[in-house]
Symmetry: C2
Subunit: 575 residues, 2 copies
């Protein structure tokens, strides 16, 4: 929903004023909208675009060198008035004529047509190219009735580049019209937007459903489905557009994947990956794709795919430089294409497994088996750890431990299978854990396992004392890496009592399995104890009851890991 | 919420692959993230940035000429691993050293520091500048503990420009550190985001509340308030940042107003208008502001303001050209600043009021009074018309009629007050209505009032027949402008019976007041009749019961206008 406004009645005017203040490098306010604040060296044909507000960067964000000369800015989702269009176009005119271009909506057609009449009455040569790219809004035999959506961008960009290249008005009109003929779009929506000051959304899409072909103001769509996967959406968009390849289209295509407001960049990139592959698989060559927000509807949840099939001339104009508040194609001088792998990165060292004694190898195999148990338990508890972590963190502790545990399991199995000793198995597991898990816990577990492996080595089967010493080395690595101490409400709160207890019980003569069990219980108790310490933190941070007195997820997951290892030690007490 | 993904586990990898495919002009994928696909003519110091994914354009969107050389891309909201950072940095290195820069989060610090150690072990000169711009995350005396948010952009941009300018590693590190020292940010949030595949949001902000200083992963804020107006938010952001002006700051400042995902451009521009004014009022000169999305958290609802106080060197570097997927400062050759009003627009004609007969002037005053009544009724019914229009339109009919009616009232009062005749009062009202209302209804009402005014003229007090003839002229103007006919479910369905009835009753000898009354009833009935016609349309369009059988808002508002005029005619039957 739209939250930030003053008097909703003033929204359009305040938005225009703020936009002009933020964008003085490119535009200045003029009654009815904005015009460029810069001029070309020689007069050119002027491109004037426009429409209702609420679709930024369309339309005012596209005013600047190499693109439009002015934008008429209507109220929210309402076409600009005849007077607004006339005012902006008359100011933008440089004496070589004006091309008006905008999306095909009744109000816009009315007002732009009337403005065109007034401009002609003023003696200005004026033409119009209406954008009609939305394939869902009318059948192919009624293309002129279709709405204009994100395909605006291709028409405006090509026309603006033609103006900059010195084309006369006939020429600018010709390439703009050809670009519209060669452009097709299809959009989908998952939810509507709430306009400034409105009590309810302009329209709704039922939860977990997707409206296919819904217009950017909520106009009727052509279908409704469940929300698909990203890949299935890409297939729908590509197959629908490829079912209507324009006359004269070649084998090169410009894709524009547009977000309507709250479908964000990362999601668009996931969808684009499949779009790119599908287009390439049909033999199309992809030219300068664009993925981002080009025609929005406030925070409407939706996306659209536009395809332009350019000829050589349109491609040259599409890729020409431009510089506007929201769309820039720059060029920083002196750049050349860089081939892969030209850095100073050393080639990856081959994963050679060093020598190990037979007993250390046997121990390595057992460690690999224990890490498999650990991975299984981390899988089973990932959801719970995520929940704990959401109280005061970003909720990724579960997935991080899961990724790390699985990677460690696989790396350890690989190393053990190739005859690695205990130390190497642990160090390989450490590296994999850190690399796959990322984050804080990944780095700390990597440090712990690496230190453990370094202390155990590949030469001997470690006895009870050697294990206790190695565990102490791991503890030191953790506190060095993380910088936390007991009472900081981190996993250190569980590690310290674990190591101390293990030390005490092995010195007292317990077997490794017994000592480990006792130590794991101490870790579990300590992890539970972080609950108390975190109560204040939870209250400061969150807004619900669930925040109060949850234990630290890192301490809890540490206790789970050592309990799991203890279970295996009890079942197979010797190497 | 995040809707578009395949297997959530693969989200990070698929996002990276799609991003690289979409952005091959600037980057190529390399294990751990992306590096540039282009090279400078001469080797430079390399800038490597990074962090968790989910913040696009941070961090991968900032790789390209004039900015970063590589980005390490962690999983969603999780720092990249040591291996990832090392892999990207080693590949980006050109033999002149590497600057690592990223926001201050524990996991990032751990992994980037470990990667730095490995790079140094490889013989690469490597330095680190951690970004700490978020004033809400620690007090001023503990600046090094603060988190990094959208201030990343200033540090990265300045450092990247210094690399491109040939600075050595000491120099790049120096300007990056100075930029961080001179950068302050404060963010607010209205709602959290739901990560791909998650069942519930990572965090929530209570409805109609605003969390002040909430971190980009939901870290604790410093306050919670009701959602303020756009202007009050601007005041909060500016006053908080100006309370901590950095040492050595001058009088020039770069503002960056950043949207976190679903607070959109138009809202940001409204806020920015006040930010700009407040900064200027304190005597600060504003340098190249940026308003847009630079550091997001999926579709989190929030915004942040960053201020950089540059010195001459930093300003030169901040404004230097760059070209990356998401941040470009280009320059199209040959542009010069254009002063205001250089177009061919004729100077606005002075609003001279022409001659009129005394009786036409009296009639003009009565028309102005009737238009005041109409404006009052349109105000009272704006909400209802908006509701009707949301069924099959964009919901702006109410506000459009309200704006138009008010503008017509004011213009008519002004013209009548200056002695205009009936025709001029109506034509001035027409022009104002069209200009202020915009949209389809604005254009149609402007055409109708203009035709009415043209037919009545300024010479005579129109008699009953003259009024009926003028109304018929207005009807023709409406059908010409709108192109609709009876049965199209538009206001034409109400106008046509109104005009026909008025004609019949005046021919039959009724007084104007009586004939108008009867005609207005016919219009009201016809407007109600559009309810039936629209049932099918409603069903096709919408998802709820409210869609079925609502009348056309244009027909309903037309009937209201003529009823209102009829009421005045009855009270004052003669001019």
């Amino acid at each position: 929903m739209t939250r930030l406004f003053n008097d909703p009645d003033d929204f359009g005017a305040e938005m225009t004023a703020g936009f002009a203040a933020a964008s003085a490098r490119w535009v200045r306010a003029h009654p009815g909208g904005v015009v460029r604040s810069t001029a070309d060296a020689e007069p050119t044909v002027s491109l004037v675009v426009g429409g209702g507000s609420g679709h930024y960067p369309a339309f005012a964000g596209l005013v600047g060198p190499g693109l439009a000369h002015g934008a008429a800015m209507g109220n929210i989702f309402a076409s600009p008035s005849t007077q607004q269009v006339h005012s902006v176009a008359a100011e933008a005119d440089q004496g070589r004529g004006v091309l008006l271009s905008y999306g095909n909506y009744a109000g816009d057609v009315l007002n732009f047509d009337a403005a065109q009449e007034r401009l002609r009455a003023d003696g200005v040569d004026c033409r119009t190219v209406v954008v009609t790219d939305d394939v869902s809004s009318a059948t192919a035999d009624r293309r002129a009735d279709r709405r204009g959506i994100a395909g605006d961008l291709t028409v405006f960009k090509v026309a603006g580049a033609a103006c900059a290249a010195g084309y006369d008005l006939d020429g600018v009109e010709r390439v703009a019209r050809l670009t519209n003929d060669r452009t097709r779009s299809l959009g989908v929506a998952f939810d509507g937007c709430t306009l400034p000051g409105a009590d309810e959304p302009l329209f709704r899409v039922p939860e977990n459903r997707m409206a296919v072909g819904l217009g950017i103001h909520g106009e009727p769509g052509i279908d409704e489905t469940d929300v698909p996967t990203a890949a299935a959406l890409a297939e729908l968009l590509v197959s629908t557009l490829l079912a209507e390849i324009p006359d004269g289209a070649g084998t090169r295509v410009v894709p524009i994947l547009n977000g309507l407001g709250s479908v964000k960049y990362e999601e668009l990139f996931v969808v684009y990956g499949t779009v790119h592959r599908l287009l390439a698989e049909t033999g199309l060559e992809i030219v300068d794709p664009e993925v981002g927000e080009f025609c929005t509807s406030f925070d409407m949840a939706g996306a659209s795919l536009t395809l332009l099939w350019p000829d050589d001339e349109l491609e040259r104009l599409w890729t020409a430089p431009c510089d506007t508040p929201a769309f820039r194609r720059g060029r920083v001088d002196g750049q050349r294409t860089r081939s892969a792998a030209t850095g100073t990165a050393p080639a990856t060292a081959a994963a050679v497994i060093g020598d190990a004694t037979p007993r250390s190898r046997a121990c390595g195999a057992r460690i690999a088996a224990a890490l498999a148990d650990v991975a299984g338990e981390l899988d089973a508890h990932a959801e719970e750890f995520g929940r704990l972590d959401r109280v005061a963190g970003d909720g990724d502790h579960g997935i991080g431990m899961q990724r790390g545990g699985r990677a460690a399991r696989d790396a350890a199995a690989d190393a053990a299978g190739r005859g690695a000793g205990a130390g190497t198995v642990l160090r390989r597991a450490a590296d994999a854990w850190g690399d796959r898990a990322g984050g804080t816990s990944g780095a700390i577990w990597a440090a712990a396992l690496d230190a453990l492996g370094g202390a155990l080595g590949d030469d001997t089967a470690p006895d009870t004392r050697a294990v206790a010493d190695a565990v102490r080395a791991a503890e030191q690595a953790v506190t060095k890496a993380g910088g936390a101490t007991v009472g900081d409400k981190t996993m250190v709160d569980a590690i310290v009592p674990f190591v101390r207890t293990l030390d005490e019980r092995t010195v007292a003569g317990d077997t490794l399995a017994d000592a480990w069990d006792t130590a794991a219980r101490a870790a579990t108790d300590a992890a539970e104890g972080t609950r108390e310490l975190r109560a204040g933190l939870g209250r400061a941070r969150s807004h619900g009851d669930r925040s109060i007195g949850t234990p630290d997820p890192g301490a809890v997951s540490f206790a789970l890991v050592v309990r799991t290892v203890g279970q295996r030690l009890r079942e197979e007490p010797t190497c």
